[in-house]
Symmetry: C2
Subunit: 331 residues, 2 copies
């Protein structure tokens, strides 16, 4: 084939293939408010080759908190429901738990009572349910749970309580060459078994809190055993540390919803060139929950002040989101 | 455009675009021996959609040791030359080093003497040269050093002492949908500033040993400060642990050269489906170095036994590699 003809055909293909991309609104669950406009303006600013703020695709890193940013976190962090279910499931193997706090309270359904033991009680519960098995056994337990467990209020699987506007945002960013990563206080191995299916985010782009693991040969077969020892807490000051450790590049965009995300947003926006920071403010008591400055879960206080002072984008869920959950979408 | 016509044009484009890929040998610096054949056979086995062992692209993870696998490691690990140069550069700020071991010996050029202090001495040297600055300052120091430092024997920049056959292998794997990752005992932040340029491996795919870092606001500007405390040693049993922590998926192929890589190869090959493990055996005293079972650097003893027992691919550098370093290639 002559080169000119070949070139023509290729150009034709590209033109015909890429046309549909311009046709539809990539963020249909976002109302046409300032938040959506700010997102689109930022993406255009860093992706147009003619733009002064153009960022090469390899540097287009976007980090997302999970709890309260990608999925709901009320009435408690969803991983805590997993913990409660695991305590119940493991109780027959631990008859001593009936008399032993914090397990005794948990088994009676008294979460508040169990947590009067503070951080030490929490740590004991986490280790009893998250350590002592291989990484593969734990991943299977998580997969089984996430496939069957239901949220106490909506009666929906937890993976349906993700935010439709954020799913669209993830897809939109990836379509524009971004690498989307999760940076969550939740357990790294609690998230990885299902984030690819739910968010399109592969395990290597999921960062979270972790316990230590140990390599062992069991009957000649190598396994990684989960140890009852904290490795890393991926919250607050820990988030930039973990981003540096796992990604080794500063994100150009970061998305969170609470004071636990403040340092990630500070770190992201302190880089040179165009930067984007967004906080989801839970203002919708009817479709979701309304909470913020005084909440014990997902407190948004210092980060909200800093967002206002620095002009970060704050999503007003009630007014900015046309839909909240995917199951509300018209079929 | 009618759908059939559009489809025809697209098919034509794809056919015309992909033809050149078949034309050239993707591994020209490999002799036509068993090692090369084993590599090509494995890649075809996991990438052909009709193959029973087909692996989807997202799961095509290949991990590479660095020292002795991607670049040379004699007469000592290259990062140790960096350390020596840093001790010299920092000596004026530390007049006490003239009298204080292990620094006094190092400054006199007596490396052996300095290391009689064992692990404790080594740790002191590492922390004196790797901690106390921000991550950005350290990255700049590494960049400046790697751009100017020269290997004592070849007088070449260290980044030219990479193995040409392995560069071709990295490119070949990536062209076949693999994600290539480094899993090295070397410092993660010592490698990341230059691996993308040298190996085409971006920072988020570089895993290594690390010290702890701490998030701080300095005059309102967020920084990560490098602390004199070991975070993780990415060697031996540490390699599968780090792979699980950073990638969260088991590699399907792993490449190493020493006993420090044994557990990574065990972990990789213990997964289900097609797996590939390769060891580079340094057998070429003329073009490179010849060492193995008795070497203090890059000892290849237990891993060689296991490779032979399990049928892993062992590269005989002298016979399997047509070229060793890129600077030997005919121009």
């Amino acid at each position: 084939m002559k080169l000119a003809k070949q070139f023509f055909l290729v150009a034709l293909c590209i033109a015909s293939l890429s046309l549909p991309a311009f046709a539809a609104d990539p963020l249909p669950s976002w109302n046409d408010t300032a938040s959506k406009k700010a997102i689109v303006a930022f993406v255009e600013r860093v992706t147009k080759e003619s733009s002064l703020d153009f960022v090469p695709p390899v540097e287009r890193i976007a980090t997302f908190d999970q709890d309260g940013t990608l999925w709901a976190e009320q009435p408690m962090y969803f991983q805590f429901f997993f913990i409660l279910d695991r305590v119940k499931a493991l109780a027959p193997q631990h008859p001593e738990w009936k008399e032993k706090e914090p397990f005794a309270s948990l088994l009676k359904g008294d979460v508040k009572g169990a947590l009067t033991g503070g951080e030490r009680a929490m740590l004991e519960i986490v280790m009893a349910t998250h350590a002592g098995m291989t990484t593969e056994e734990f991943a299977q337990t998580v997969k089984d749970w996430i496939a069957t467990a239901r949220h106490p209020k909506t009666k929906r699987p937890y993976t349906e309580m993700v935010y439709q506007p954020m799913l669209e945002l993830l897809t939109y960013l990836r379509a524009n060459g971004f690498k989307t990563c999760i940076v969550s206080g939740g357990g790294i191995e609690f998230m990885r078994p299902w984030t690819e299916q739910v968010y399109g985010i592969p395990p290597e782009q999921v960062i979270g809190s972790s316990i230590k693991t140990k390599f062992e040969l069991r009957d000649g077969k190598p396994v990684l055993v989960r140890l009852p020892e904290i490795n890393f807490i991926d919250d607050k000051e820990g988030k930039p540390v973990a981003i540096n450790q796992h990604i080794g590049r500063r994100p150009i965009a970061a998305f969170g919803n609470s004071d636990g995300d403040l340092q990630m947003l500070q770190w992201t926006t302190a880089g040179s060139g165009a930067r984007f920071a967004l906080l989801v403010h839970h203002t919708d008591a009817e479709r979701e929950w309304a909470y913020g400055r005084a909440s014990s879960i997902g407190r948004l206080d210092k980060a909200l002040d800093e967002a206002q002072a620095k002009g970060w984008t704050v999503v007003d869920m009630k007014n900015d989101w046309k839909n909240v959950f995917p199951f509300e979408l018209p079929k």
